[in-house]
């Protein structure tokens, strides 16, 4: 097993994809010369040159729309939007153009583009540089949404996203960029749409994605000492998500908790809970409990932000609640 950082895994996936496919180009603000605000694209300019590693002006609406047009004209653009909060400026291109093109043009064309963007807090970056907005994109038919939890699936999912013929919103957690973990010797794509059971357990299913997976694992570890056996599912892909995997786990455990860093209300967890409250109702032995951010913008204060973000203690409380052990 080799070791890789999450950020480096993403950089590696970009490099390998560019190596394998000359139509892959990457674009974004300060991604070329400077290697990106988080250093993810460092080295790619030297390797692939300025025609394929493109620094753009601060024009999010245009570059997203350009990615659509380029994807319709033979390229596979991978666009970086520096913070997920700034995707607010690129919504028309993603939602009304990229997501719809294949469907509304009668399957004449696909839009093979990836929008990479970091979400999440922990850096005191405040209300406009920390949001987790993946639920928006998951609500839009035609987009795929992916969120890796560690270096190995960051690599594998990004390779799959770039190879995918459809537009993919690839959500990275900026707090994970420095995370170091084992990756397989031979890195390979991980199919989109498949969850991973990252810890198996008997009593309760915890569904997580992105940075929340580590929380779920810690929670499982802690609860094991109380003989509560937690099964942890890493969703990996948020749209289309792996309903079958979650259902199978729920069938086994009878209890469900969903955790993510995004605001709980109308977040990704709502869909998972709602779907299981329908499909999995007969398996449910207790309430479905969600852990997410409270209903407020992300605060600047480090102290407030720590309270704001989901924690092991909140997740433990949620598991107890789901099990009726409050």
């Amino acid at each position: 097993m080799a070791q890789l950082r999450y950020g480096a895994a993403i950089g590696q996936a970009l490099a390998d994809a560019m190596q394998d496919d000359p139509t892959v180009v990457i674009m974004g603000e300060d991604i070329a010369g400077a290697g990106g605000s988080f250093g993810i694209t460092r080295g790619l300019l030297d390797k692939f040159g300025p025609e394929r590693v493109i620094d753009t002006p601060i024009s999010e609406a245009a570059i997203a729309g350009m990615a659509v047009g380029a994807a319709m004209s033979g390229l596979k653009p991978v666009l970086e939007i520096m913070f997920m909060d700034f995707t607010t400026l690129a919504m028309d291109a993603m939602v009304n153009q990229a997501a719809k093109a294949r469907f509304m043009f009668g399957a004449q064309v696909s839009v093979p583009m990836v929008l990479r963007t970091p979400h999440g807090g922990g850096l005191s970056a405040g209300p406009q540089h920390s949001q987790c907005l993946e639920a928006w994109f998951a609500h839009v038919p035609g987009l795929k949404v992916v969120c890796p939890s560690g270096p190995a699936n960051a690599y594998g999912l990004l390779r799959a996203a770039i190879a995918d013929p459809d537009p993919v919103v690839f959500v990275e957690h900026k707090g994970l960029y420095a995370m170091r973990d084992e990756v397989p010797e031979v890195l390979a794509p991980i199919p989109l749409g498949q969850a991973a059971v990252v810890r198996s357990g008997e009593h309760v299913t915890v569904v997580a994605y992105g940075a929340a997976v580590a929380l779920a694992m810690q929670t499982a570890e802690q609860l094991a000492s109380e003989s509560i056996s937690v099964e942890v599912i890493d969703l990996q892909t948020i749209q289309p998500w792996d309903e079958a995997a979650v259902l199978a786990s729920l069938a086994k455990t009878g209890h469900l908790v969903v955790v993510h860093e995004a605001v709980e209300a109308f977040g990704v967890g709502a869909e998972i809970a709602a779907r299981m409250a329908e499909l999995g109702f007969s398996y449910l032995k207790g309430p479905i409990v969600r852990v997410g951010a409270p209903f407020m913008p992300v605060p600047f204060s480090a102290e407030l932000e720590a309270t704001y973000r989901p924690s092991v203690s909140r997740l433990i409380a949620a598991v107890r609640k789901a099990l009726g052990k409050e």
Binding site: G65, M66, G69, M72, S73, L75, R102, F103, V109, P141
Partner: protein, 328 residues
Amino acid sequence: MPLTGTGEDGNAALLRSYEQLLVIRRCEERLQRLFAEGEVPGFIHLGVGQEAISVGVMSALGPADTLASTHRGHGHALAKGMPLDGFFAELLARDTGVCRGRGGSMHVADMSIGMLGANGIVGAGLSIATGSALAHKLRKNGQIAVSFFGDGALAEGLLHECGNMAALMKLPLLLVCEANGWSEFSPVSSQIAFDLAKWSEAYGIAYRKIDGNDVVAVAEAAAELTGLIRSGGGPALLTCTTDRWRGHFEGDAQKYRSSDEPAPRDPIVVAGEHLAAAGVATQRLTQIAARVESEIEEAIVAARAAPPARFDAALADVYTAASIGVAI
């Protein structure tokens, strides 16, 4: 290449343009009736009176050059070469439509001829065409991309972002402003405070403004500007003044228009005059007109007979490969 020459042979290109003008005009006139009779639903924006822009610009494009269009996109589609069958079948929501009945008037598209789609979002085509131009440049295929947009769309921020981007990257992009003086129900003069010629100059974008109702003038300007662009000169902007004969969309009562607007010049009449001056017999034009009419009627007959759009096929085309999704 210039459209005009002498005699019938020397005017083959102009005759082709004349025919295209007629095709667009007659198609839209038929659509107007089909809409009025309830056979075509939705929002239908007709470009009657503006046909010379589509035809003139397209005369300077090759089949692999791309274009992004607008909500008023029939002319762009047909001039670029969209087959009549697929066009009418789309408007009649048939499975044989260019978009299999899922897009309708506001989304007619034909990737096989580089027509990247009409668009319901004002201004969106600017960035799509800019991206397409970027692809052409990086792929070094010698192609160019064209963005058509209205004079009302000039207010959208993408004009600036894409103008800056294209100038910066010297993209092979032709911006075509169809200046019909209207932004929906409002005169453009009440919405646009800047001068487009000066604007272009600020970005170093080559600029021409011509009579958009004269297909020869449009073709000449398009030939000049696409020549500049193909030789690596970066983006150019062509403003074509024209007139919107009908309402913003079909069904628009146009209470906001005054009866003393000057009568617009008809691009078909203007083209006919050019042909007459070049010595082409009117009889030739009558023949073309007859052929166009019958082709259109045949397309409508075929569309009516075609199977309707299919829900299952639509659901399967949300993603390229079948994937997990919520079934209805």
